[in-house]
């Protein structure tokens, strides 16, 4: 058994990302065309130059035709992938491996989702015929199990934990207010967040990510070819994806304060990337803040904070835009909503901007410009506490020595 990784063998040489939001004006086809146009322009290539495509979507369509039809791609491989909320990241991972293998020279990963056309509130599942014994609980309810368990385990007063969660939402909205592509581009006061109507457990509306449409895309090639397309490629340092045995819901030992899948995928990605101290080495992280308690737990599972101390680091501002390790500097799922297939690539798009120092001045992070850090992390998880898939990538603006 080995997870050898492809450190520095593949580079991202172009990216595109549509504005996210209630895109009543755009269908999935339009969003795919928009993201593709941006990505190929960014890489300075034509659609015909791309040898193979990976399309991530949960429900915008089945098969590669979902992409080849609107883009009129001429007889080339287009693979549709799906892996819950890590779908967009999964498309990138597969495209990277394809060029690393030498099978193709230039590949595109693209993700899209069109959630707002359903007419329903919140996320809705894709119907599969079952035996009717599945849970009726919604996603916010499943993730809301984390908050009381965390408070109980670490002796945090529930009121104080509520402040912590509120601050996570506040921070992400603060960042999103500085991002023209975000769905929500306004700061939200702590009071508004903490008083928002309950959705599940301790979670209010503002503890939940929004529902949005959007698309994002990345063009990848082997690292040695990167400078044909850009002076400032992003090098892929590590890519890890794990699916767990879905132990949490059936194992009495699971305590709802951690995601084992995240721990495992982070360890794997760090090992591939040569990261030994993520808090000190990473310039930034884009993590899966589907709900505020998720981001809190992720700070510990990703090794950004000691176990049981994440809540203090949140309150101390460690993960703020001007903090030691900015987390979700683009505003996160909180500000962008979560078009499933697009989110992972949207996160990578922020690494693309920040590590290349192309982010707007009001949110360009100092860990890059002043701290000289060159590594960024993206993370997705799909499923729920105790039963999920998790993806972690590490990318960098410099090749390793």
């Amino acid at each position: 058994m080995a997870s050898n990784g492809i450190r520095d063998r593949v580079a991202i040489v172009g990216m595109g990302c549509t504005p996210f939001g209630e895109r009543w004006d755009k269908g999935a086809d339009d969003l795919l065309v928009d993201a593709t146009k941006d990505a190929i322009a960014s890489a300075g290539v034509a659609l015909d130059d791309i040898d193979a495509f990976w399309l991530g979507t949960l429900g915008a369509g089945n098969s590669g035709l979902t992409l080849s039809r609107p883009l009129k791609i001429d007889y080339r491989p287009v693979t549709r992938v799906e892996n819950f909320c890590a779908t967009g990241s999964e498309s990138l991972r597969n495209a990277c491996y394809a060029v690393a293998s030498g099978a193709y020279d230039l590949a595109m990963a693209i993700g899209v989702e069109k959630l707002k056309d359903s007419g329903f509130s919140g996320l809705t599942g894709i119907h599969q015929v079952g035996d009717g014994t599945g849970t009726s609980l919604t996603s916010p309810a499943a993730f809301s199990f984390l908050a009381p368990s965390y408070a109980h385990k670490y002796g945090v007063d529930p009121e104080e934990l509520k402040e912590v969660l509120t601050r996570i939402a506040w921070k992400n909205h603060y960042n999103g207010a500085r991002n023209p592509r975000a769905q929500f581009r306004k700061e939200v006061s702590l009071e508004t967040i903490s008083r928002s109507p309950r959705v599940a457990g301790e979670l209010g509306v503002f503890d939940c990510s929004g529902v949005a449409d959007g698309s994002a895309a990345a063009i990848v090639c082997r690292a040695e070819d990167a400078h044909r397309y850009t002076d400032r490629p992003l090098y892929v340092k590590g890519l890890s994806m794990v699916a767990g045995p879905a132990a949490g819901p059936i194992d009495p030992e699971y305590d709802y304060t951690t995601f084992e899948e995240v721990i495992r995928s982070a360890q794997d990605a760090y090992r591939q990337a040569g990261v030994t101290d993520p808090r000190a080495q990473l310039a930034m992280a884009e993590v899966h803040d589907c709900f505020t308690p998720t981001e809190l737990v992720l700070m510990e599972d990703l090794g950004f904070a000691e176990r049981g101390m994440g809540w203090k680091e949140v309150l101390a501002g460690t993960f703020d835009l001007d903090g030691e390790l900015p987390v979700n500097p683009d505003g996160g799922l909180k500000s962008f909503g979560h078009p499933i297939g697009a989110s992972g690539l949207r996160m990578m798009f922020e690494c693309w901007l920040q590590l290349r120092r192309e982010a707007p001045a009001e949110r360009q992070i100092k860990s890059v410009t002043e701290g000289g850090r060159t590594l960024g992390l993206t993370h997705n998880l799909g499923g729920g506490p105790g039963e999920c898939v998790s993806f972690v990538s590490v990318v960098g603006s410099e090749p390793s020595d």
Binding site: G130, D131, T135, P140, P148, R198, A200, P249, Y256
Partner: protein, 502 residues
């Protein structure tokens, strides 16, 4: 060999509607007391399952040869409801399951047939009813929902059927065309005049058939939806008022098909050996039964206490009576409320349900033979030791558990929002996440003790989706042992229930 009733089980739903709530909403007087209300996730099948579980608990290991299910309000037509009851009770495939659905009279027919043939065909008779009525009407106000089940045994009976008689007649007192949500009734005094002579005749013939006189009667139960006829009959039979069983309808309502059986169970919980009980039901004629309790009764009563089974009297006192009239109307489909902007539940697949029948209906998990890890739902590959196909079935329907964590879901689709989600750790191992029903969301916490209950999760496209939920268990009050023994859980509703059982 003493065949007859070997055990009984009664289930009265958790929810009660105060009659004054009806008056408060509609104006005008509405009477005192409460009526039982089947929850939004209950139907006559699930009520029957709960009664059946209680009837099967005490004989401990007794298995009937057949299940008879009777209700005027069956969940399905052209599909046997008794098979659902059979599956939820975890009975073996060889046990027959028949519906005897129809009018209230069918219920007494099912019971008497079961008892009369028990020497050759031990039978579980399950009688359940959900009484409906239009808003503001007498049926809505005076009826109730509930179920009763009798284990009719070939030997070891606690009550023998020593005489019976019927008086059949064709007249229109109460009727309902299939599909109608409520029944119609002819003018009250007409029914009274039709019923009383029939009831008197059946009563007299039954005594004659048993070879007893009026003075031999220790307990009398008279049941029927025609309240005025029941009263007039009872007063005309010449029995002393002291032998007439207590009227529970003020707190419970008239339970229709279950009323006679619940009355009989109520008597059996108080009777002594060698007593004579007469039950008389007025429904499209009259049917009278004469029972004699046996020396086996005290042991059965004691076993029920030891198992923590709530008596009828306990259940009458229990429950929660702050159900709003608006919720009641919503649950009975008489008030159409704006649904949440969420997808409606979709129907399950018939093949899927057949494949997982033992789990879905019987709540049978799997336990790894190699390492003992318990899996809910059952799996083929062990989570802990990864052994493949080394599992034995492990029915947990009667095993209690403890809430490990919980949440209140305000977004999930439900007729009674908010949905309470709990993660349950079962005594003896195993974890499952499910809904908590019959609860006060504010009173749920980590450590809350729960038991499982069979419910209808929802209906879609004319299909009912049954599965199990958790419901709070009251703290043990009679202290006969620590919670933690995982054999057969006490299923008493709100009555003192022990954490450990016989």
């Amino acid at each position: 060999m003493t065949s007859g009733i070997g055990a009984w089980g009664v289930y009265l739903p958790f929810w009660r509607l105060e009659r004054k709530a009806i008056g408060a909403a509609l104006g005008g007087p509405s009477g005192r007391g409460t009526r039982t209300v089947a929850s939004y996730d209950e139907d006559t099948t699930t009520l029957g399952v709960e009664a059946g579980r209680r009837a099967l608990e005490v004989p401990g290991g007794w298995t009937p040869d057949q299940v008879l299910f009777s209700s005027p309000e069956p969940a399905y037509q052209d599909k046997t409801n008794a098979t659902t009851v059979h599956a939820a009770l975890g009975l073996p495939q060889r046990v027959a399951a028949f519906d005897m659905v129809g009018s209230v009279r069918s219920a007494v027919g099912a019971l008497v047939t079961a008892v009369a043939t028990a020497d050759r065909t031990p039978t579980l008779a399950v009688l359940a009813d959900i009484r409906t009525g239009l808003a503001g009407g007498a049926d809505e106000r005076d009826s109730g929902d509930g179920a009763v089940a009798f284990a009719c045994v070939a030997d070891g009976a606690v009550a023998e059927l020593i005489g019976r008689a019927s008086a059949s007649d064709e007249f229109l007192d109460r009727w309902r065309v299939p599909g109608e949500p409520y029944s119609h009734q002819w003018e009250e005094r007409f029914g009274e005049q039709a019923y009383v002579p029939l009831a008197q005749a059946a009563f007299a013939d039954a005594l004659k058939s048993a070879g007893i006189g009026l003075d031999d009667i220790d307990h009398l139960v008279v049941a029927g939806l025609h309240v005025r006829a029941v009263k007039a009959t009872t007063g005309s039979l010449g029995v002393e008022a002291a032998v007439v069983a207590p009227d529970r309808t003020g707190a419970v309502g008239n339970l229709g098909a279950a009323q006679l059986g619940v009355g009989l169970a109520d008597v059996l919980e108080r009777a002594t050996p060698g007593q004579t009980v007469v039950t008389l039901q007025l429904a499209d004629g009259a049917d009278a039964q004469v029972w004699r309790t046996t020396d086996a009764l005290p042991a059965a009563q004691e076993a029920r206490r030891a198992a923590g089974l709530a008596t009828v009297a306990d259940q009458v006192e229990a429950g929660r009576s702050d159900l709003s009239y608006a919720s009641f109307l919503t649950w009975r489909d008489q008030l159409h409320r704006e649904p949440p902007r969420r997808p409606e539940p979709t129907r399950p697949g018939a093949p899927n349900m057949l494949r997982t029948e033992a789990w879905k209906f019987g709540f049978s998990a799997s336990r790894c033979l190699a390492c003992g890890f318990r899996h809910l739902p059952p799996t083929r590959v062990c989570l802990r030791c990864k052994s493949v196909d080394q599992m034995e079935p492990d029915r947990l329907a009667d095993v209690e558990g403890t809430v490990a964590t919980f949440t209140i879901d305000y977004l999930a689709y439900s007729l009674a929002p908010p949905t309470v989600g709990v993660v349950v750790d079962f005594d003896g191992g195993g974890r499952f996440r499910c809904e908590l029903t019959d609860c006060d969301p504010d009173a749920v916490g980590i450590g809350t003790r729960v038991q499982m209950t069979f419910r209808r999760l929802y209906s879609a496209d004319g299909m009912h989706n049954y599965f199990w939920k958790a419901r709070p268990l009251d703290a043990p009050s009679d202290g006969d042992g620590p919670a933690g023994d995982a054999t057969m859980g006490a299923v008493g509703s709100k009555a003192p229930a022990s954490g450990k059982e016989a």
